[in-house]
Amino acid sequence: MTNGTSVPAIDVQQLHKHFGEGENRLHVLKGIDFHVDDGEVVCVIGPSGSGKSTLLRCVNRLEEPTGGRILIEGSDITDPDADVDAIRTRIGMVFQQFNLFPHIDVLNNLTIAQRRVLKRSKDEAERIARANLEKVGMIDKVHAYPAQLSGGQSQRVAIARALSMEPDMMLFDEPTSALDPELVGEVLEVMRTLASEGMTMMVVTHEMGFAREVGDRVVFMDGGVVVEEGPPAQLINDPQEERTKAFLSQVL
């Protein structure tokens, strides 16, 4: 994959996404060019309905793009012949609503895909699962069921579940938006650790503090287009575009 010059981990080219049919057809992404380099942390911010979550979901094809290309480590995942399941094992995903599997315990949440998809042995899957639970500070809940966890704990387990697949990059879809304010910190802390370890991350978030502190680059989206992007300090403190200024004045 690496041929001297480094290929972006995520390379989105002229991406379009429509929802619905006929008269109700909604143009949600209007030709997005976007990339995340290897080891880079990119935070995507913008008002609700701006298309930022849709963009993130297109990156592992939970949404089917209606136009444009997405390259993951150089290979085109929008190609009809692409093995989407195999590509997804390289892309960890963390959801706003955690989406832990409620019918199995924490350990099995972390091992089920390792065993069924990656065909790892039970012992190896559990070893990796425990190491990741340790990392997110949830090892003491290894046999708990999701219903017994707080929101913050659930999200940390969800992160550990994604990490257990040992992905090359992580996608975060508003990971703290469903949390009570006092639980946001513990999740951001885990994400901060991941970033410091060099994980490639794309984070859709409303946490400006996190974006400023951890992000290598911040992308501001509105109305289905990328309005402005740049280093966090510059974009957040000194935005150039009117729409960016208007949005930031409301959230800061």
Partner: protein, 261 residues
Amino acid sequence: MTPRQRRELRRRVLYGVLVVGAVAVALVVDWAQLQETFFNVEIARDMFPEVATIAVKNTVIYTILAFAFGLVLGLLLALMKMSTIGPYRWIANVYIELFRGLPALVTLILVGFALPIALGINIPGGTLGKATVGLGLVAAAYMAETIRAGIQAVPKGQMEAARSLGMSQGRAMASIVIPQAFRIIIPPLTNELVLLIKDTSLVFVLGSTPVSKELTKFGRDLLLERANGTPLTVIALLYLAITLPLTRLVAQLEKRQARAR
């Protein structure tokens, strides 16, 4: 009269009607005759142990096999009904409408007689095989809708999370969605089981040997043989002995689910 007095009067009249009715029944009914006809201890005692070792056993076996057959076919139909491929949906829809619309008795006759005579298809396993298929075909139509509702009640995020971990559609269905769907539909499925228990009383149309009788056939034959209603009383109690614990179980499960939410 004040409104309070009027309410009091109405209450007394209603109680009075009840008492008069009860006295009338007590006087009209021939209690000795009733006991002789429906609660004859001797006849009841004669029914054991066969009523348990044959009739109850057969009822339970027909029920379990038909339920298992119906569950597998129902799951298949539910998945077909949600298929992206049109013809699969149409087949499932036609099947469900057909077998929900037909009386179970007609389906049993169809399986037991029409298929072998008209098409030369003979279901193996004798009465047991035919009862399993006949009742199972009907149960599947009902269960398909229940299972589909259960699958659709599992939040979309579950499928998305499973797919994001690299699971295929089928793998995610089997490992993540369907196990949760079945948890949701335990109460309606248990109701389906209770309905099936009662539907086994229709198996008599397939013809029966002394060892293949289920509760109703067993009771009816004895009713005619002894010219006495006691066998009906006994089998009625035995049906309740099977269904009441089940309906209690449904209530328990529903209560637990309500608490979990």
